[in-house]
């Protein structure tokens, strides 16, 4: 229950920050993708199921407010969360390299799929422009933000896990 409330709060917080504060902190009009960081982190920290649920709700929020089609971003984020969950087995909290690489790849995949579904299908073929002006800067900015945001998510996750273990021991 506690985990559910905190997760929901994190999703909403990331969405609100991304649409308000970070829009003001944008470098050259590019905003970091906090929701990808959150989705991917939940994926490799908690497993496939948590990743896909968090991803689904992150995407759904983006869909309701800014998407043209309800469900498109939800699906993209959900699959990213799920695939990150596959790396749960090789994830160690002390190692920051794997999370960084996974988040980088996640944001890259997100950018490519967004381009393909929202731009390529409307006949915008100038891929190199979109790659170097939107996808790449977003990846760089997102990775910089990850260095700040990821330790916080990790710390929150550790706190909840400790608490859960304690209360589980109480019952035994």
């Amino acid at each position: 229950m506690r985990r559910l409330v905190i997760s929901a709060a994190l999703v909403i917080l990331c969405f609100v920050l991304q649409s308000t504060v970070f829009k003001e902190l944008a470098f050259g009009g590019i905003v970091p993708n906090l929701m990808i960081v959150l989705t991917a982190s939940y994926g490799f920290m908690r497993g496939e199921k948590s990743g896909l649920i968090v991803g689904f709700f992150c995407g759904l929020l983006a869909d309701i407010f800014f998407g043209g089609l309800l469900g498109l971003y939800a699906m993209i984020y959900m699959y990213i969360g799920y695939l990150n969950g596959k790396f749960n087995r090789v994830f160690y909290p002390d190692d920051i390299r794997l999370p960084l690489v996974l988040i980088l790849i996640s944001d890259f995949v997100y950018g490519i799929i967004s381009y393909m579904t929202l731009f390529l299908l409307r006949g915008r073929f100038h891929f190199s422009y979109y790659f170097s002006n939107i996808i790449l800067p977003e990846m760089v900015y997102t990775i910089l933000i990850t260095l700040l945001l990821y330790p916080i998510i990790l710390w929150i996750n550790k706190k909840i896990e400790n608490r859960e273990q304690r209360s589980a021991r109480k019952f035994v």
């Binding site: 909403i12 969405f15 609100v16 920050l17 991304q18 649409s19 308000t20 504060v21 829009k23 003001e24 050259g28 009009g29 590019i30 905003v31 993708n33 929701m35 497993g47 496939e48 199921k49 896909l52 649920i53 689904f56 929020l61 983006a62 869909d63 309701i64 407010f65 800014f66 043209g68 089609l69 309800l70 469900g71 498109l72 939800a74 699906m75 959900m78 699959y79 799920y82 969950g85 967004s114 381009y115 929202l118 731009f119 409307r122 915008r124 100038h126 422009y129 979109y130 002006n133 939107i134 800067p137 977003e138």
Partner: protein, 290 residues
């Protein structure tokens, strides 16, 4: 044995694979449904307005408050000095005011002749504040702090200053989504004010960095349209009210078919620093309406 069969005394859990499968079908269903109809937009937008909009509004307000306070502190010293200068200016301006009043009299007369501007003033407008911007980097839509509770509706035109910003594409109880004319997926029917030639104005992500938008399909066989001409919304547009300023032509080229022209427009609105907008509560009359 199937992993979803519930054994006695075991807590029921659904494996990720199955959940992914179910949600994928749900998403596909939603996409298909929203592609063809808009029955889902009302409950979804109400939910969003209930949970997220108050937060966005709060953060936006807090941000501008802090910004305002810090600016105040910096400004106090310069204000004292400015006060002296302003007093001197008042005398100067009083003189000028008298002269301007005479000009104004002339202007009202001219406006009566130039009916377009009079019509422009007559649209009822509601002010709204931008509280959130698109989370992605692909499009340029934003959310304002008024919705159908304030009398707004889908397709109402949005302006800032004297120029067109876009139109409302989604509306909730206390928020509305505005799609700007510079967004990559936006096409607006426009008109050259001086010659009444129609053209299509479309936003383009590639041109966005240069601060311009493109236009195309301008038929101008007499070569009367030149750079610097005003572009306004056309009277054949089915979403936009006629005569709202879009921008000025900054470059113009003949297309390879030798019939039409295309080029670039500098928008009248500064989209980078947009904070407050005006929503015109009057909607364009279409063929179906009576």
């Amino acid at each position: 044995m199937s992993p979803i069969v519930k054994r006695k005394g075991e807590k029921f859990t659904l494996p990720g694979k199955y959940l992914l499968f179910i949600l994928t079908i749900l998403c596909t269903g939603l996409i298909v449904l929203t592609f063809h109809t808009d029955i889902l937009s009302a409950p979804a937008s109400a939910l969003g307005g209930f949970i997220v909009t108050p937060l966005q509004e709060g953060i936006s307000k807090a941000g501008s408050w802090i910004n305002g306070r810090s600016e105040e502190l910096v400004q106090i010293r310069s204000l004292l000095k400015e006060n002296e200068e302003l007093k001197a200016q008042i005398d100067e301006l009083t003189m000028e005011n008298i002269r301007l009043q005479q000009d104004r009299y002339e202007l009202t007369n001219l406006r009566e002749l130039y009916e377009l501007d009079v019509q422009y003033d007559e649209y009822d407008k509601v002010g709204a504040r931008i509280i959130a911007k698109d989370t992605g980097n692909w499009f340029h839509s934003f959310v304002i702090d008024k919705g159908y509770d304030d009398g707004l509706a889908i397709d109402m035109n949005v302006m800032a200053g004297s120029g067109l910003v876009g139109r409302i594409t989604d509306v909730g109880p206390n928020w509305s989504k505005v799609m700007s004319i510079i967004a990559d997926n936006s096409n607006t029917s426009g008109m050259v004010l001086s010659t009444s030639d129609n053209l299509i104005v479309s936003g383009d992500l590639e041109l966005y960095a240069e601060g311009v938008i493109s236009f195309e399909k301008l038929v101008d066989s007499a070569d009367r349209v030149v750079e610097g001409d005003k572009i306004v919304t056309s009277n054949v547009s089915d979403k936009y009210l006629p005569g709202i300023l879009i921008g000025y032509i900054s470059s113009i080229n003949v297309d390879s078919n030798n019939l039409t022209k295309s080029g670039l427009i500098t928008p009248a609105v500064d989209f980078e620093h947009l904070e407050e907008v005006l929503v015109i509560t009057q909607q364009k009359q279409t063929v179906g309406d009576n």
